[in-house]
Symmetry: C2
Amino acid sequence: MRRQITGFSNPTVKYLRSLREKKHRKREGKFLAEGLRLLTDARESGRIPEMLIMSSERDEHPLLTALEQAVDRSGGEIVECSAEILSKITGKDNPQAVAGVFAEFDTSLAHLDRSSAKIWLVAQALRDPGNLGTMLRTGDAVGAGGVILIDDCADPFSVEAVRASMGAIFTQEIAQASWDEFIDWLRSGEGQLVAASLRDAQPYRGAPYAAPCFLMVGNESRGLPEEYEMACDLRVTMPMRGRADSLNASVAGAVLAYEALAALDP
Amino acid sequence: MRRQITGFSNPTVKYLRSLREKKHRKREGKFLAEGLRLLTDARESGRIPEMLIMSSERDEHPLLTALEQAVDRSGGEIVECSAEILSKITGKDNPQAVAGVFAEFDTSLAHLDRSSAKIWLVAQALRDPGNLGTMLRTGDAVGAGGVILIDDCADPFSVEAVRASMGAIFTQEIAQASWDEFIDWLRSGEGQLVAASLRDAQPYRGAPYAAPCFLMVGNESRGLPEEYEMACDLRVTMPMRGRADSLNASVAGAVLAYEALAALDP
């Protein structure tokens, strides 16, 4: 189905704009992703937007045609509007020529197949959507199964997290759970829980990583609660040669993930 | 010297607010840093603000007292204002209780002592101030000498970069140069230039890193120009097991920096 939107006050524009806010995303169970590259990653991962929004001032592109065809075939809706309206929807001055609305994914722990990958990333109370998106992207790069979000993390379906993930939102599994739910789930099967830690920890290089390996990093300012670290099977630490004793959370996760990758899947 | 500011239209408030914009920072040669932790890192690194701005609603703290004394001793100015005015200065709803104005540092290549560290980070056309700050922070963590910014990078003295650096703006050397200036300077002495690359590259693990080692990452969307990669002494690549073939620029720099650290300074 195709239609044109010409007015800013069109209810579809209001609906799409509302998806930039978490409460509306949760109510609708939908999220927005922007840009031909991201939407192509989605399509190639089998995720087709329910609604495709295109600027009427776009240039033709074979990947865009492929996207339109996929949306048509799956019974989705295609909406055309001016670049100005698209800019209002995405909140960007220079919007990309295309955006899509997706149904939010199942983020229960139950849907994860832990044996499907050797590495999983776990983030605890990660507050910055950019860091969260970056962790998804790193997860994709190391062939992780996905990212598990513990306690009160940023929303992985926010525009910022989706953008920073560079498409990994569509390739990585995502789960959201409280610490108690997570640790119960983890201990119901195989899995080594590893903390990036400064306490009572061994060097991260050459540590005895074992698959499936769950690599956990903590909140940007507070790190991991001591109780969580103590529940880990392995605590590892990275050299800190400077004045500060910390790394950006998504950087720490990536350095650890590449080390585990070298150990588990060289 | 101490004084109180009570009005939003005070010229000092206007001056401080203007430092959030690059053109005003460059004209004045000054930049803003916020928060007791950051300002304490600065003080302990021998960088004392020329002007200290404190909220009159602040709590007493021994580190704040130490900061006031340092500013007094160095002949700087101490300004008190309401939390509301401080919020207007920093552009944050919940400003930290203290901010400082610093003179921008010398960012010429000439002032770098390449033999002072085994690792240096080089960023080419890095556009995101958060990524730039994160690289400074990583540089601090691996004991790098500093970060060299090639071509048109984000401003390291922007509020966002300073914040993301978590104090490393005060501990890492910073240089800004064109590619031609940089390569001339590099080749005028010892130094191995290493590119994070996808072309004609060897695995990053176990590559023959040599100190002083200059680790270069490219622009967030385009990566490094081919010409720059070809001028490198070593091109290394990280495993990419996912759909995408890239990492966040500051993540790639960090994974590489930790590998070089293990090789050069275990």
